[in-house]
């Protein structure tokens, strides 16, 4: 019910949102989040296969936790410039609470569990402890494993 895509190509925010709700009369709330590259360009590496597999698992988890009617997750990889959209999450539901919460859940998971690695210039970007704290509020997330 939530479609996931991993791609190098840009995406069109308006087109993604419109496609999600076209012809539907049961959707009362559509929450969209777009992450943009700040300040400097980035290069993103990912783990083809595992990324899609884990994204599908978390999308299923979101649908199990909230009454989601439709959704889209797009995450880009490759070289991105300042201001470029890097990630898109859209969740449609009958009412806003489920849409807001499911979108937030998906983003927290993407920041902390999706196998992507950012490189800025010559430096690999380090994982951010505040992202882990944000993700902790959801309890267990798919992919949770602490090193032994």
């Amino acid at each position: 019910m939530i479609a996931v895509r991993v791609q190098a190509e840009p995406f069109d925010l308006a087109a993604e949102a419109t496609a999600l709700t076209a012809g539907r009369t049961d959707i009362g709330a559509l929450v969209t989040f777009t992450g943009l590259v700040r300040d400097h360009g980035l290069s993103l590496e990912h783990y083809p296969g595992m990324t899609e597999r884990q994204l599908c698992a978390v999308a299923d988890e979101a649908c199990a936790r909230w009454p989601v009617l439709a959704g889209t997750v797009v995450h880009r990889y490759g070289d991105l410039g300042p201001g470029d959209p890097i990630v898109f999450v859209a969740v449609a539901a009958a009412h806003r609470a489920a849409a807001f919460e499911a979108a937030s859940f998906l983003m927290d998971w993407l920041k902390t569990r999706a196998p992507f690695w950012k490189r800025a210039g010559d430096e690999w970007v380090a994982a951010n402890a505040s992202d882990d704290e944000a993700a902790a509020r959801w309890g267990g997330l798919p992919g949770d494993r602490e090193p032994g």
């Binding site: 992450g35 993103l44 590496e45 990912h46 783990y47 296969g49 595992m50 597999r53 884990q54 995450h75 890097i86 990630v87 983003m107 993407l110 920041k111 902390t112 569990r113 999706a114 196998p115 992507f116 690695w117 950012k118 490189r119 690999w124 970007v125 380090a126 994982a127 951010n128 992202d131 992919g143 949770d144 494993r145 602490e146 090193p147 032994g148």
Partner: protein, 81 residues
């Protein structure tokens, strides 16, 4: 074996095919053994708290078994979004 981000850079290759010694039972055993393969492997694996592991495309703890695994990946903590 697959390596990503700075783990790949330190090991020096993105992937390698290895027949693992049967004595290796867990992910931790594998990391200990891999670290002896080359100075690059040793450098990549010197700080175990800085690496994460995927076994057949699922996250795996260091105590996870590796028997029968076909694809094992080692990478830094993720930084997506």
């Amino acid at each position: 074996m697959l390596y990503f981000a700075w783990v790949r850079e330190r090991v020096g290759v993105a992937e390698e095919t290895i027949d693992l010694p049967p004595a290796l039972v867990t992910v931790a055993d594998l990391l200990d053994w891999l670290a002896t393969r080359s100075p690059g492997h040793a450098a990549a694996l010197s700080d175990r708290s800085a690496v994460r592991v995927g076994v057949d495309q699922d996250f795996a703890g260091f105590d996870a078994p590796i028997a029968g695994a076909r694809e094992i990946a080692i990478f830094p903590p993720v930084t997506g979004g």
